[in-house]
Amino acid sequence: MSATEPATALELDRLERRYGERVALRNVSLSLPAGSTLAVLGANGAGKTTLLRVLAGLLRPNGGTTRVLGHELPREAPSLRGHVGLLGHDLLLYQDLSASENLRFHARLHGVEPARGEELLARMGLRERANEPLRSLSRGMRQRVAVCRCVLHDPELLLLDEPLANLDPAAAEAVAPLIGPGAARIAGGEPRTRVLVSHDPAPAVAQADLVLGLRAGRAVIAAPPDALDDDEIAELYR
């Protein structure tokens, strides 16, 4: 990014996304300052994953205005590339390549020094298994490799879909400096902006500066956590 870092990382105004006639997201409006954390809550099928994919520039919004890191989507989606780290259900890793081969591949795509991948793997305690095909690693190990992949290019914005799924407490602790609250960028050191999708509301709300509650694609909550009570959140999952 240039020196004119936008103070607002996300600016959504009546964002809408349809799949044909089915509405997946409707009327989502919020504004998130750079460096803060947005928790996205909602039951299965509420539109959480769709929202993440829209913010990543992978799905084009059908209505409203969407600004991510100052880029207006979908028009400026190409200039958003390389600034976002997406950690979703799909790990975006090739099962038949080893962890370090996968990271080298992504490093080349992003024009990053390949050594950075090795360094991240070492931090995740994966150095000994780095050359085995991913297929032979446990689900938790693969998730750690995906975390490395997600922060490999030092993105400003992290889009995290259940990032701690399959991680034991030790592993969760290891990934925290990379994607946890206050995770800082290498370049500049300012904290990363995070969008955290979770089924488990309590820990997500605890980290959040802003909570977005989705129900059947509509934003029913968009407020700072201290303005919410537990019932309101529990209602989302009913």
């Binding site: 975006l92 795509l109 290019h153």
Partner: protein, 223 residues
């Protein structure tokens, strides 16, 4: 360009590790020659018939590889990965076409000599320089069309079927031109050079579809 390199290297490494396409394509070619031997009840072929058998076999073998070309990307997130990275998504088109081209080259490295030994009447050696030119031009066309067909079909439910249904008619002109160009090379009276007209048609076909593919490919990745 470095993205093309990264993708190509990744594809070749994956193939080296999983051996999903090339061995199957090669084996298919050799089996097809055996089937042709019995089906045609001929032990040696020359001229048009030899050219036809060779090109039909190579085309069908190519379609086997085409069907699988984008499967890993779809299943393991390569489409998303390329769209998250600061590179031109067309890099994937170029890389996949080059991957397919190299698969075809490897398959033909075995299949063409195999054809020379199993079925071809006249000697393969004098035909070789001309045949290499025809192979190169036709392979580019197959690679480009195959990449497009594969990318179109990979998001559909009946992937393999769609690839075959779409790929065969689209590649008829390639087979037609390649077989016509190859026939004089295999003539019983000694190889004569391939007619320029057919090489020109192959070249035109390659050029037109390379441009069309480049123009439309981004729309296939977009979501």
């Amino acid at each position: 360009m470095s993205a093309v390199g990264a993708l190509l290297r990744k594809d070749l490494r994956l193939e080296l590790r999983t051996r999903e396409s090339v061995p199957a394509m090669t084996l298919f070619s050799l089996s097809a020659f055996v089937v042709f031997h019995f089906g045609l009840q001929r032990s040696s072929l020359d001229g048009d018939l030899a050219a036809g058998v060779l090109w039909v076999t190579l085309l069908l073998a190519a379609l086997l590889g085409v069907g699988r070309l984008f499967v890993t990307e779809r299943e393991e997130g390569g489409f998303d990965a390329i769209r998250l990275a600061p590179v031109d998504p067309s890099a994937m088109l170029v890389a996949k076409a080059l991957t397919l081209l190299s698969f075809l080259a490897i398959v033909q490295l075995v299949a063409v000599p195999g054809f020379g030994i199993l079925l071809l009447g006249p000697s393969l050696l004098p035909a070789l320089p001309g045949l290499l030119a025809v192979l190169a031009l036709a392979d580019v066309g197959i690679a480009v069309i195959g990449t497009l067909a594969s990318a179109l079909a990979v998001q559909t439910r009946a992937r393999e079927l769609i690839v075959a249904l779409m790929g065969l008619p689209l590649l008829v002109p390639v087979v037609l031109a390649a077989a016509r160009a190859t026939a004089p090379l295999f003539s019983a009276g000694g190889a004569s050079p391939p007619p320029l007209r057919w090489l020109g048609l192959l070249g035109l076909y390659d050029l037109v579809f390379a441009l069309v593919a480049y123009a439309v490919f981004d729309y296939l990745l977009d979501d």
